[in-house]
Symmetry: C2
Subunit: 154 residues, 2 copies
């Protein structure tokens, strides 16, 4: 709900961070998938997947001998992470930056860690904001409940 129409039919929940290291509920234990299969499991459209690749948000997807994309499990893992980052409201441009760091190799570990820590701070702050908001909603809802109860009684 946080942005216009995100993840129309997102898979219901990844129970553990283990979804980052294999274990997708997919057709079979293959390690290559067509774009429509990936669209199916990620809830993203094929258009969006191609667009992700175009803007540099995917770390190089394999192609079949006829040029069609063949996504692999590591791509799905990456998309799972991207999905999480997107939930935090991180702009796509920042995710692209992170993807660039990954492409640049291991000497960017520190920068990546800092980026994730900054994101974690944002997420924590956001949760606090939402808790405040929840308090306001509770307060308002109680007001309406009281008002309606009062008007029924008389």
């Amino acid at each position: 709900m946080i942005d216009s129409s995100p993840v129309p039919n997102r898979p219901k929940a990844a129970p553990r961070p283990s979804s980052l290291s294999g274990g997708h509920p997919l057709p079979e234990g293959r390690d290559h998938y067509t774009i429509s299969e990936v669209a199916e499991v990620t809830g993203l459209s094929a258009h969006t997947l191609r667009w992700y690749e175009r803007i540099g948000l995917m770390p190089h997807v394999d192609r079949s001998h006829t040029g069609q994309r063949r996504f692999r499990n590591r791509d799905l893992d990456w998309l799972a992470l991207v999905g999480k980052l997107r939930l935090t409201g991180m702009p796509v441009a920042d995710m692209v930056r992170y993807a660039e760091l990954v492409r640049e190799g291991e000497h960017t570990f520190e920068a990546r860690q800092e980026l994730l820590e900054a994101t974690r701070r944002d997420v924590r702050a956001r949760i606090e904001e939402l808790r405040d908001t929840l308090a306001v909603l509770d307060y308002k809802i109680d007001l309406y409940a009281d008002a309606r109860r009062a008007s029924e009684r008389f």
Copy 2:
């Protein structure tokens, strides 16, 4: 961070839902403010405030004898609520719907309560999502920390 550049310099925190019923830290205890004063305290731009009014998100703002807006404390209270709802990611169109219900009078109490309860459910779900995301971030950050510690040791 959740949308592009929201609330650039939002006032730091309303300690209680009491911010919904008076108690604004404003110039003095007046009950009319110019648009730029309201922009100052809400963190919204004057443009945005006029736009809110145009689309029906403000419940009728008073005007001076020359036609300039004179916001009152109840307008600030309303904007505080709108700010909270906006933090939940509620689309502006839904907030407009809520504003319409308010304008329609007391017979919409039930509808308003339902709308707020639906929003509350969304906020709770969102908090859960963010907690999941936090777990993933913790996991990833630990991975980087371990990797960097290991590379230092050898």
